[in-house]
Every structure is written in C-alpha cells, then in structure tokens.
Amino acid sequence: MTELDNLTEAIVRGDRKEAVRLTQERIDAGDEPKNILAALVKGMDIVGDKFQRQEAWVPEMLIASRAMSQSLALLEPLLVAAGIKPEFTAVVGTVEGDLHDIGKNLVAMMWRGANFHVIDLGTNVPSDKFVEAAREHNADVVGLSALLTTTMPAMKATIEKFREANLPNTKVVIGGAPITMEFAREIGADGFAPDAASAVGLVRELVGKA
C-alpha cells in the first residue's frame, strides 16, 4: 500500500486529521499535485459507491467530504500553479419558492469532492439567476433542487428559460425528494439524480468525460 493509497483510505474513513497530514506529507515529499488530487478524488468516488450500495450513509459522506475539502485547500495553490483545473464547472441552487437546502448542499459537497468547481446560488433562486450564472461561469452543468411538490413547477420554468437562452453546452439536471425520472423527462431536464452521490456520475456521463 502506497502513501497515496493511505491518503485515499483516510478520505474513505472521513479521517480529516490524517487526510490533511498525509496531503501535507505528500506535498512536502514533492509528489505531483495531480497524483495527490487523484488519490483524494478516488477516496470520494469510493465513498460515493458505498453510499449507493447503502454501505455508507449521509454522515459518512459528510465527514469524507470535509476531509476532502480540508485536504484540497492545501493542494489548491499547487494545482493552480500547475494549471490543473477542476473537472467541471457546476452551478447549483434550490428553485424559486423553495427554502430547503440540505439536498442541494449535499450535491454541492459531492461535486466539490469530485473536483468540480461549484457555484452555489443558495435557495429560492429565480430562473433568470440560474441562466445568468451558467452564462457567466460557462457552466458545464446546472443542478436544480426542490423539496416541495409545490415548487416543482419552478423547475420546468427554469428549464424553459435555459432553452430560450440557448446554452447548448450547459446540461440541466434536477433532484429532490418529490422528483422522479418521469418528471425529469416530462419537463425536458437533461438528467435526474436520485441522490447526491449519483449526481457525480450523472454529470460525468452527461458531459461525456466519464
């Protein structure tokens, strides 16, 4: 088992102190930043897979994600200096009329953990704001979240705005407690994720870099 394997394991366990220590150790040892990053992302991918198999739960995902983000903070200056960019740019928010944020926050965490650049617009986000942010940041993907049946129509309105705005390189994906694949198809979303972990694979598949 290599030192980078140990780093991956520390992320899987959600052991942030060990993950940060090992990240710093690998930086000091002169490892390539891209290799350290790959070890961190691999750890989050393992946690995501375990989550989908119900071998890990939201608490395990949260501590792994925190370990990842604290490790990544050490690595980021080196990644920037080496010209290594995040895998995707993603905009995320809860649609207009809905103030719930835990589902959206979990997706944002998982996307950050997978080395996406995430712009979190918060809750109660009007359709136009999603479109503006996607255009401004040249987003690969926009994630719309809704918890309430009463706010699901705002997803359809937002997708219509995206069609009007003609941003062919931006995929719009949706998720939330009342959302189904059937609803996603009905309103013309590019994709649907039943949970935060699935949202990572969904983007990789949709944007074609899986």
């Binding site: 608490p59 103030l99 009463t150």
Partner: protein, 360 residues
C-alpha cells in the same frame, strides 16, 4: 357511507392493537394553500369535521433553548429572517406556508452545548400548558376522538438545535455529545408529559413527531440509529406503555431498513409512510402488519394527478392491504398539496367511505 358504530377513541384504540373495529380511523394534513384553494372550490373550511377525523392532539411539547425568542433580524419583500427559539437564524416566507430555511445554527460544538444551550434548556419550560390541554381534552371527548400527547422526538430536536450537518457529523465523530443532546431532549419531553399527567389530564396515547429519513433512506445508518437515537425512542414508547397507552411515531422518508428496530422499540404504529420514499403498505402489511399498525401512505403525488382511475387504484389497493390485519388508518403520505382539487379530495374521501369499512 362510513360505518360509525364506535367512537373515534374506541376505533383508534382497536386499530393500534389490531383488534376488530367498524371502519378505519382517519386523519389528514394539508398545506394552508390547499385549504385556501378548496375554500374557493366550495369546501366549508373544517377538514377534521369533513373527513370525520378520529384523533385530537392535547399539546405540542417542543423543548427550546431560548423559548419565546423571535427576533426579527432581516426582512425583504418576500421573506422575514428571525433569530428563533433555538437561537438559530431562520428565514420564513411572508405570504406562503412551508418549513423555513435555516440560515445559521448557534449550537455548533460540544462547548456551545454545555456552556449555553443545555443549561438554558434545563432551566426553561415547561413547554406544555395543563389548562390549555384540559380544554383540548374536553373538545376531544365531546367529539369522541382519541386524545393524544404530542411532541417532537429527540433526533428532530437535536437537528433543530445543531443543524443537519453538525448533528450527522457529530454522530460519527462525537457520539457522546449526540447521545447527551438526545437524552436531554427526551428527559424534558417526559418531564413535561409527567407534568400534564400530574395535573390530572387524561390521555389515550402518545404521538411523537420527527423526520429521521429522506427518500434515500434514514439520515444515518441503522447501526448509528440503534446506538444513538433508538434508546430514546424506546424510552418514549416505554413511558407510554407504562401508562397503558399506545405509541405512534411520525417520520417522513424511507424507513424500510429500520422497521424491525421500530418493532423492537415497541412502537404501536408508524405514520405517514411516505410513498415517494418507497414506503408501501401493500408490502409492509404482510411483513409487519401483525406487530405494527400502519397509518397513511396514500400518495399525494398520485392525488395531485387528479386522475380518478389512478387515485382509485392507489386508495383501494392500499386500504385492502392495510385492513387485512385491522391495523390500518387513513392519512395521506405527507401533506395534501394545492395541486389537488376539492373535487378530487372529495372523491378520495368517498373512496375511503366506500372501502374503509369492516362492518356494513
């Protein structure tokens, strides 16, 4: 036509013990906007009376570290932001119902808990009012309804005090802290229930609310639930049983993986069995119906289609499955949304009237 040989109180007691009764008990929850829509479509305004509701709450025991605090800290044209009774910052809609956004939580560390929130909680309360509960009891008795003590369960209280992220991470990293918080909230709830009891208040059961799951499953693993929350759930159920009354537990979300633990804790019923979270009384009744009563599960998403054929299939098949063990009560699987018309809702009640009788 509903068969009404028994009072609601008698009917619910039999439903919770899975003993023969006349017709299934009923309760309902609807969003404020739904009631407004229905009023515009001819509804008289009293849903409990229209439905023939069989349950009546006597109190809402919800321990808070800063009771009475509701400080306005920001306002815009659509929302108001307050520092609330847990000393958290929350944003509410001005002209719309729904749960608030939690902007910030004030109890973020064990130090916050031990230095401030716990001492405040222990010094606060009671969170119930015996005189008000006695008025409710009189009303419940007049209407023949099952009168229950109601409150928030400790996992929900812990989340409200600390927020989801801190609570869930602390379950992994600082379990003794979560155990202390959950135990403290349970202590306070039981203290207040005992205060009501000492005042001479009669009650027919205990109904505890908290959402420990979402569509993807419980918020934590069944093992963590068993370690940190279940002991408090069992204390609440045991308390009810020690008084000779049943215990109902409310949670949204997919709790299929912890149903065995609910049985082990001695719960008498689980409600509302959220259909979109893969809870299905047609599968649950054969598996648990002899040990646990099932309450709800009529899918609001199906209701919202306003498609009578789909709704009839939903209501009739679920009633048939639940009634097989005499352990089923009607409730939607969540709150009825405003996309359900009054005509549709009347149709649903007609179906419950027609298919919810054990006796003709």
């Amino acid at each position: 036509m509903r068969t009404n040989r028994l009072t609601g109180r008698e009917r619910v007691n039999r439903f919770l013990r899975r003993q023969p009764h006349d017709s299934i008990p009923r309760a309902e929850s609807a969003w404020a906007e739904t009631i407004e829509r229905w009023k515009n479509e001819g509804f008289g305004g009293d849903l409990a009376q229209y439905l023939g509701q069989d349950f009546h709450g006597l109190c809402w025991c919800d321990p808070r570290s800063h009771p009475g605090q509701f400080l306005l800290v920001a306002e815009d044209d659509k929302t108001r932001t307050y520092r609330d009774e847990w000393n958290n910052t929350v944003r509410y809609w001005k002209h719309r119902s729904g749960t608030p956004e939690h902007v910030a939580f004030s109890c973020q560390t064990p130090e916050d808990w031990h230095a401030d929130h716990k001492p405040r909680l222990l010094a606060a309360g009671p969170f119930v009012n015996p005189d008000a509960s006695k008025l409710d009891l009189a009303q419940a008795r007049r209407n023949g309804r099952w009168a229950h003590l109601t409150g928030l369960e400790p996992f929900e209280s812990t989340r409200r005090q600390m927020g989801d992220e801190v609570t869930l991470m602390a379950m992994m990293e600082e379990p003794e802290w979560v155990d202390d918080v959950a135990r403290t909230f349970t202590d306070l709830t039981l203290r207040d229930f005992e205060l009501l009891e000492a005042s001479g208040l009669e009650f027919d059961g205990v109904w505890i609310y908290g959402d420990m799951a979402y569509r993807g499953g419980p918020m934590c693993s069944p093992a963590k639930y068993r370690e940190l929350v279940w002991p408090q759930h069992k204390r609440l159920a045991d308390w009810a049983h020690s008084r000779g009354v049943p215990f109902i537990y409310h949670t949204d979300g997919d709790v299929n993986s912890v149903m065995d633990l609910y049985v082990e804790a001695g719960f008498d019923a689980v409600q509302p069995l959220e259909a979109k979270a893969f809870m299905d009384v047609r599968q649950l009744a054969p598996k648990y119906g002899d040990r646990l009563s099932l309450f709800g599960n009529i899918d609001v998403m199906v209701m919202a289609t306003n498609d009578r054929e789909r709704i009839e299939e939903e209501v009739v098949t679920k009633l048939q499955a639940g009634m097989a063990t005499h352990g089923y009560a009607y409730h939607s699987d969540h709150s009825v949304p405003p996309s359900v018309s009054w005509e549709t809702y009347k149709f649903i009640v007609d179906l419950v009237d027609a298919h919810g009788n054990y006796e003709s």
